[in-house]
Amino acid sequence: MNGAAHLLCRLLAMPETARTLDARQWGEVMTVARAELLIGSLAFRLRGMVLPERVEAILAAAIRSAEEGRRQALWEAEMARRALAPLGCPVALLKGTAFVAAGLDAGQGRHIGDLDILVPRASLDAAEAALLGAGWEWVKPDPYDDAYYRRWMHELPPLIHRERDRMIDVHHTILPPTARTTPDAAKLLAAAEPLGNGLSILSPEDMVIHAAIHLFADGDLSGGLRNLWDIDRLVRECIARDADYPAGLAARAAEHQAERAVARALRAAHALFDTPALPGKAERLFDAAARRRLLARDGWGRGTRPATRLAFYVRSHWLRMPPAMLARHLWIKFMRDRRAGA
């Protein structure tokens, strides 16, 4: 049973149901929320409600923690802006940092780990040199990983700042070039909306497309509940501003070859968070499997359903590269892990 993960979704979508929880459920739901990095989002959703004393104390701490995380994320974005400003190339913030920089609902309490930015592919080398000159260093010491990133990935090998200990992922597009779906990176930057400080964020449509692609055309759905919650918040806020948003989203998704990923993400969000804008026809088997994977966590915070997890893990590699390349990649990784373990 994964009552706790389901309960977390219900609480996020309908905070008024908080009154019905007993002590055991509170303990479990907060454990799941921490494991899924959604405790800050939950705390903001329940803010101002009368809750058990301990729950209020834990959520108040989560809000303080998220506020500090927000401040540090914005500072990190500013540091990157200063380092990259001399290049004169467009720099778009992605994911959590973009949400908080733009003051979106999706940024409320959002856990933010690394700084993710998007730059034109032509500026990638210059951006890397500028960041190395401003105190960032390579993280991956392994030459195979480094070469793999540079040849096949949609981002530079991760860099970490030697004083602030924060990572930056510099993307030139939002999916590996080897993947079957090829979003149009130039269009992403062309439609990006300036924040007024030299940085920009993706358009409302592209933000949701990026989150959906990350969920269903790239990753293995680990940490997926948080990405799905981003999608719910973004879609609701965009629809509140512009009732025609769903049509624009569908049209834009087609331009990026991402209709399927977006439709799947919207269906999953509708199922778990009652997100409006229900698109197209359900894929019964896939949708059920995706929900099983998204909710694969118990009230102790443990990952459950190992077979479903493995299936989505294998799928994520399958999507990312052609079979021969995948075989070679896994073989090299396997041999290296064996050497490291010996």
């Binding site: 002590a23 055991r24 509170w26 303990g27 454990t31 921490r34 494991a35 058990p52 004393e53 301990r54 729950v55 104390a57 834990i58 701490a61 989560a62 303080r64 923690s65 500090e68 401040r71 540090q72 102790w300 915070g301 443990r302």
Partner: protein, 281 residues
């Protein structure tokens, strides 16, 4: 999980789940006089689980996990399950706590005035705190001092006192009536035995105290006591805090206030008696 134990230690409560009965029974016995979490809701969840399903039975190996985890935390053999539980609880606080500024320090209190002992592992924090508790001081904690950024007061965290190697015998002689956990020999931290905080420590665990002195003890040197300036104390405490950076400005404000208000001394000592004489003197 199969076996569950909950406890409140000062302002912090834990829910511990375990694949094995042993560690939970030990926790239950040693924390018998601690209260349960308020409202039955714990601040942190800790998991003691087998590293692989079969390692529940074959050479059982305890992985340390919970709400907050270190990716490369080494597992411990089941014989050291109690130590694993204690480490896992400490880890939750070290990585997750945001209400208090955590200082890696032992704290004792008398007449509402708290003395904070901080230093590297092996400096003698736990030993000195236990010995001072034998002399009528209230033990507030031997691992973390919880500094409230709003009030500048310290909150108690009287978990089991972790004694290592020769300190076990020293403290047993000073506290012959006290309760101790099992001796765990050959752990990564040496031979370990836990001391149960006394009734005074538990009865007063919800009463915060004003810090009046900060001591940097150092064991194995000739007697010496040198005042430590606020600037140096600040820098040393940033290194002794696990959540100073995470608290941001609030952490900075709390710590600068602390080092301004609390005089600090570096105390070198060759044996416990001289350290205690210096601290009480």
């Amino acid at each position: 999980m199969r076996h569950v134990f909950s406890v409140r230690i000062g302002p912090v409560s834990f829910r511990v789940g375990s694949d094995w009965r042993g560690p939970v029974e030990q926790l239950r016995a040693l924390y018998a006089d601690h209260p349960a979490p308020v409202d039955g809701i714990a601040d942190y969840t800790v998991r003691l689980s087998a590293t692989r399903p079969w390692r529940r039975f074959v050479r059982p190996s305890v992985a340390i996990a919970g709400d907050y985890m270190l990716p490369d935390a080494a597992p411990l053999p089941l014989a050291h399950g109690l130590l694993a539980a204690e480490m896992a609880m400490n880890l939750q606080l070290a990585l997750g706590e945001r209400r208090f500024l955590l200082l890696h320090a032992a704290t004792v209190e008398r007449d509402g005035r708290a003395i904070v002992l901080t230093g590297e592992s092996g400096a003698g924090k736990s030993t000195l705190a236990a010995l001072l508790s034998a002399r009528g001081w209230r033990l507030m904690g031997d691992e973390f001092a919880l500094l409230d950024p709003e009030t500048g007061l310290l909150h108690a965290f009287p978990r089991l006192v972790s004694l290592k190697n020769a300190a076990v015998g020293v403290v047993r002689r000073a506290l012959p009536e006290a309760r101790f956990g099992p001796l765990m020999a050959g752990t990564p931290k040496g031979d370990i035995r836990h001391l149960v905080p006394d009734a005074v420590a538990l009865a007063a665990m919800d009463r915060p105290a004003r810090p009046v002195r900060l001591v940097f003890p150092r064991y194995g040197f000739a007697n010496d006591a040198q005042p430590v300036g606020a600037g140096e104390a600040f820098v040393r405490l940033t290194q002794a805090s696990t959540n100073y950076v995470a608290l941001g400005e609030q952490g900075f404000d709390a710590l600068t206030r602390f080092v301004r208000e609390v005089p600090a001394v570096a105390l070198d000592y060759p044996d416990a008696d001289s350290a205690i004489a210096a601290i009480e003197g």
